[in-house]
C-alpha cells in the first residue's frame, strides 16, 4: 500500500555460525514481509529465537540484510542506512541499565541526537527542545532530569528517556525492542501509555517487539506473530486475539499468564517444547514438531500464507481456505 511508512519484503538475515568444521548458517529471519502505516502501532510477537530482535536491528541499520528489500518512506534502502534514515527510524532498546552511557549525564545523548538530526536548531533551541521532549514522556521537571546521571533514574524513567531520545529526531517510525520486558509489571503500563500517546498525539508509528501478548493487545493496532524466523500469522489485534488461526498463536494465547483467565483453559494444551535453533533448516513448517495438527504435508514443504480476511493471514496447511 502506498503511503506506508515502512515496507519490508522477503527480508532475510542469516549468520554464519560454528568454526571451521561445523560451519552452518543460522536463519535468524527468513523471508519476512510486512508493512507499517502512518500513526499505527504494529506488534511483532514471538519468543526468543523467533527473529524479532534481528528484524529490528536490520531495520535500525545495525546489520545489513542478507536478502530482501526495505522501503522506508517510499525510498528503497541500500545496504547501510544513512544518518537521515536512522533519524527517521530510531530504536529504543530493551535494557534500561545498559542502554545509557553510565558516565555521561542523561541530557548528553538527547542533545547529540538533536545536534545530528535537527540542524535548524541552535544551541538554546536544542536545550529548550530537550526539555520539552523529556516532559512529553512524563519526566518532570525536564531541566532537572536532564542534569542527572543514569544511576539516579529508575528503570522506568530510563526507558521513558529512551523514547524521548527517539523522538528527538522527529521520527516517523520508532523501533521499540522489548522496551518493557525488563521493567516491573506495575511500571510497564506507564511506558505502554507513552507509546499510545506517541501514536495519538505525535502521529509516530511504533514497531513494538515483544513476547508478551497482553501488552501487545493493549497498545497495538495490528499484530504479527513470528516463529523460528518466519511469520506465522498476521492480522488486526482483535482478529489475532479473538480468533487466532495458527496453532502457535493459540499456544501463546493459552500459555500467556493472565489471572483473569481460569487455569482450566490450558489443560488441553500439552506442549512443553521450545522453539528450534534454525541452523541449516530444510523445507517444511518449523512448528510441525510441536504442532498438534501436523500432517505429512507440513513436514515436506513450507506452508504459504492463507488469507482469512483482507487483514488476517496465517501460514498453515490446517486452515481451511474461506
Amino acid at each position: 500500500m502506498s503511503g506506508d511508512v515502512l515496507k519490508v519484503e522477503n527480508l532475510s538475515r542469516y549468520f554464519r555460525v560454528g568454526g571451521f568444521r561445523s560451519a552452518g548458517t543460522l536463519h535468524a529471519t527468513d523471508e519476512v514481509t510486512f508493512s507499517v502505516a502512518p500513526s499505527e502501532i504494529v506488534a511483532l510477537v514471538g519468543e526468543s529465537g523467533s527473529g524479532k530482535s534481528t528484524i529490528a536491528r536490520v531495520l535500525a541499520g545495525l546489520y545489513p540484510p542478507t536478502s530482501g528489500t526495505i522501503t522506508f518512506e517510499g525510498e528503497r534502502q541500500g545496504k547501510t542506512s544513512s544518518r537521515k534514515v536512522r533519524g527517521r527510524m530510531p530504536m529504543v532498546f530493551q535494557d534500561p541499565f545498559g542502554s545509557i552511557n553510565p558516565v555521561l549525564r542523561v541530557g548528553h545523548s538527547l542533545l547529540r541526537s538533536l545536534k545530528l538530526h535537527r540542524p535548524e536548531l541552535d544551541k538554546s533551541g536544542r536545550a529548550a527542545e530537550a526539555i520539552s521532549l523529556v516532559e512529553k514522556v512524563g519526566l518532570l521537571p525536564g531541566a532537572e532530569v536532564l542534569r542527572r546521571y543514569p544511576h539516579e533514574l529508575s528503570g522506568g524513567q530510563r526507558q521513558r528517556l529512551g523514547f524521548a531520545q527517539a523522538l528527538a529526531s522527529r521520527p516517523s517510525l520508532i523501533l521499540a525492542d522489548e522496551p518493557v520486558s525488563m521493567l516491573d509489571v506495575s511500571i510497564r503500563i506507564g511506558l505502554l501509555n507513552v507509546m499510545r500517546s506517541l501514536r495519538d498525539d505525535e502521529h509516530v508509528s511504533v514497531l513494538y517487539i515483544t513476547h508478551d501478548l497482553a501488552s501487545a493487545r493493549y497498545v497495538a493496532d495490528r499484530m504479527i506473530v513470528l516463529y523460528a524466523g518466519r511469520i506465522v500469522e498476521e492480522g488486526t489485534t482483535e482478529e489475532v486475539i479473538g480468533a487466532p488461526a495458527h496453532p502457535y498463536t493459540r499456544l501463546l494465547m493459552a500459555t500467556a499468564p493472565d489471572p483473569r483467565l481460569p487455569l482450566a483453559h490450558d489443560t488441553d494444551v500439552q506442549d512443553l517444547g521450545e522453539p528450534p535453533k534454525v541452523i541449516n533448516p530444510g523445507p517444511g513448517c518449523r512448528f510441525a514438531p510441536r504442532c498438534p495438527l501436523a500432517m505429512d504435508q507440513c513436514r515436506l514443504s513450507t506452508p504459504t500464507m492463507v488469507h482469512l480476511s483482507p487483514t488476517q493471514r496465517a501460514a498453515c496447511y490446517a486452515i481451511e481456505q474461506p
Binding site: 519468543e47 526468543s48 529508575s154 528503570g155 516491573d184 509489571v185 506495575s186 511500571i187 510497564r188 503500563i189 506507564g190 505502554l192 501509555n193 513476547h211 508478551d212 501478548l213 497482553a214 501488552s215 493487545r217 493493549y218 486475539i241 499456544l251 501463546l252 494465547m253 500459555t255 500467556a256 499468564p257 493472565d258 489471572p259 483473569r260 483467565l261 487455569l263 490450558d266 506442549d271 512443553l272 517444547g273 521450545e274
Partner: protein, 323 residues
C-alpha cells in the same frame, strides 16, 4: 491446627548506605504451613528478595538482619551456629535463584554440580549420588543424558528446571524461589510453574515464591502476600486477593495488568515512586501515592490487622478507632 514449618516474626533487615541505614524489610511477620505455597509479590526495591535471603540466612554486608525471629519447625534459625545451620541447608530448606546462568557454575557439568551438592550435605557414595541425580532430573523432565551437559548447552527453561532439580536433591520441606521465571519466555514460564505444582503435589514441600509479576503465580499459590516498601500490606488467599483486593496498592497493582480477555480499556498504573528507605514518611508508607490518603494516614503508621483470614495494613480498611 498443624504447626507451621516457618514462623517469621517482626523481621527487620537494614542496608548500610553512605546516606544512612536503609530499612529494606520493616518488620515482616507471617506463617507458612507444611506443603503451602505462599507467593510474595511487589515492585523492585520493596524488599521481597531481601526478605527471602534473610530467611535463608544468606545475607551479606551491607545488608544485615537487625531484629526479629525466623523459626523453622520450632527451631530459631537466627541464633543457630553456622555448623548447625548447614545441617538444615538443602536438607530442609533449599533455594532456587533468579537466574540460572548466574547460579550455575558454567565450567562444571550439571552432573558434577548435583554431585557437589550431594557430597556437601550427605555421605552418600558415588552410586547413590548417580541414582539420585538421575532421579531428580527425570522429575523435572530433563533427559538423563544431560548429566554430562554444561549449562550453556541447555536452553533457558531447561537451566531453570535443572536448578529446581538441584533444589529437590535432598527432598527438603521448604523450597525458596526468587523470581525463577523472570528470564523465561511465556511458554517456558508456564511449563516451569506446572512442573513445580506437580512436584509439590507429589512430594509435599512448601514453597515460598517471590516475584514482581503476580500473574505468574495467580493459578498456583495458596496464599498471596503483597509487599510495599519493606512491609506486607496485604495477605490472604490468592484467588481472594485477586478478585477482591482491599489495600489501595494491591488494587492499583491488579489494575496495572493489561488482559487478554474483556473489553479493552485504558489502564493507569500507580503514579509516583516508592518512598526512600533511609528517610521513610512518618505515616503510612503508601500514603504519598495513595488516591484515598487522609491526614490520619499521613500521620499514623497502620498495623497489619487480620480480619476473616485477610490481613490488610490500611487505616481505611481497618480503622484505628475500631481497634
Amino acid at each position: 491446627m498443624t504447626t507451621p514449618i516457618l514462623e517469621v516474626r517482626d523481621l527487620k533487615v537494614e542496608y548500610t548506605t553512605p546516606a544512612g541505614p536503609a530499612l529494606a524489610v520493616a518488620g515482616v511477620s507471617f506463617d507458612l504451613a507444611p506443603g503451602e505455597f505462599l507467593a510474595i509479590v511487589g515492585e523492585s526495591g520493596c524488599g521481597k528478595s531481601t526478605l527471602l535471603y534473610s530467611i535463608a540466612e544468606l545475607l551479606t554486608y551491607p545488608a544485615q538482619t537487625v531484629s526479629g525471629s525466623v523459626r523453622f519447625n520450632g527451631v530459631e534459625l537466627r541464633s543457630l551456629p553456622a555448623e548447625e545451620l548447614r545441617q538444615h541447608r538443602w536438607r530442609d530448606i533449599s533455594v532456587v535463584m533468579q537466574s540460572a546462568m548466574n547460579a550455575l557454575n558454567p565450567t562444571l557439568s550439571i552432573g558434577a554440580q548435583l554431585a557437589d551438592a550431594c557430597r556437601a550435605h550427605t555421605d552418600w557414595d558415588d552410586q547413590q549420588i548417580a541414582e539420585r541425580s538421575a532421579h531428580v532430573l527425570s522429575m523435572v523432565s530433563i533427559d538423563v543424558a544431560h548429566l554430562k551437559s554444561f549449562p550453556f548447552q541447555l536452553s533457558g527453561g531447561m537451566r531453570q528446571r535443572a536448578m529446581i532439580a538441584m533444589a529437590l536433591l535432598l527432598e527438603p520441606q521448604l523450597i525458596i524461589m526468587d523470581e525463577p521465571t523472570s528470564a523465561l519466555d511465556v511458554v517456558a514460564q508456564r511449563s516451569l510453574m506446572r512442573q513445580v505444582e506437580n512436584l509439590r503435589r507429589e512430594l509435599g514441600f512448601a514453597v515460598l515464591f517471590v516475584t514482581h509479576d503476580m500473574s505468574v503465580v495467580s493459578h498456583f499459590s495458596d496464599r498471596l502476600a503483597v509487599m510495599y516498601a519493606g512491609e506486607i500490606v496485604e495477605l490472604g488467599g490468592t484467588r481472594d486477593v485477586f478478585d477482591h483486593p482491599r489495600h489501595p496498592y494491591s488494587s492499583g497493582l491488579m489494575d496495572a495488568f493489561p488482559s487478554l480477555v474483556g473489553a479493552p480499556k485504558e489502564l493507569l498504573g500507580i503514579p509516583g515512586n516508592p518512598p526512600s528507605l533511609v528517610n521513610p514518611p512518618q505515616g503510612c508508607l503508601f500514603a504519598p501515592r495513595c488516591p484515598f490518603a487522609t491526614d490520619e494516614c499521613r500521620e499514623f503508621r497502620p498495623e497489619l490487622i487480620t480480619v476473616n483470614g485477610r490481613a490488610v495494613r490500611c487505616h481505611l480498611v481497618n480503622p484505628r478507632s475500631a481497634v
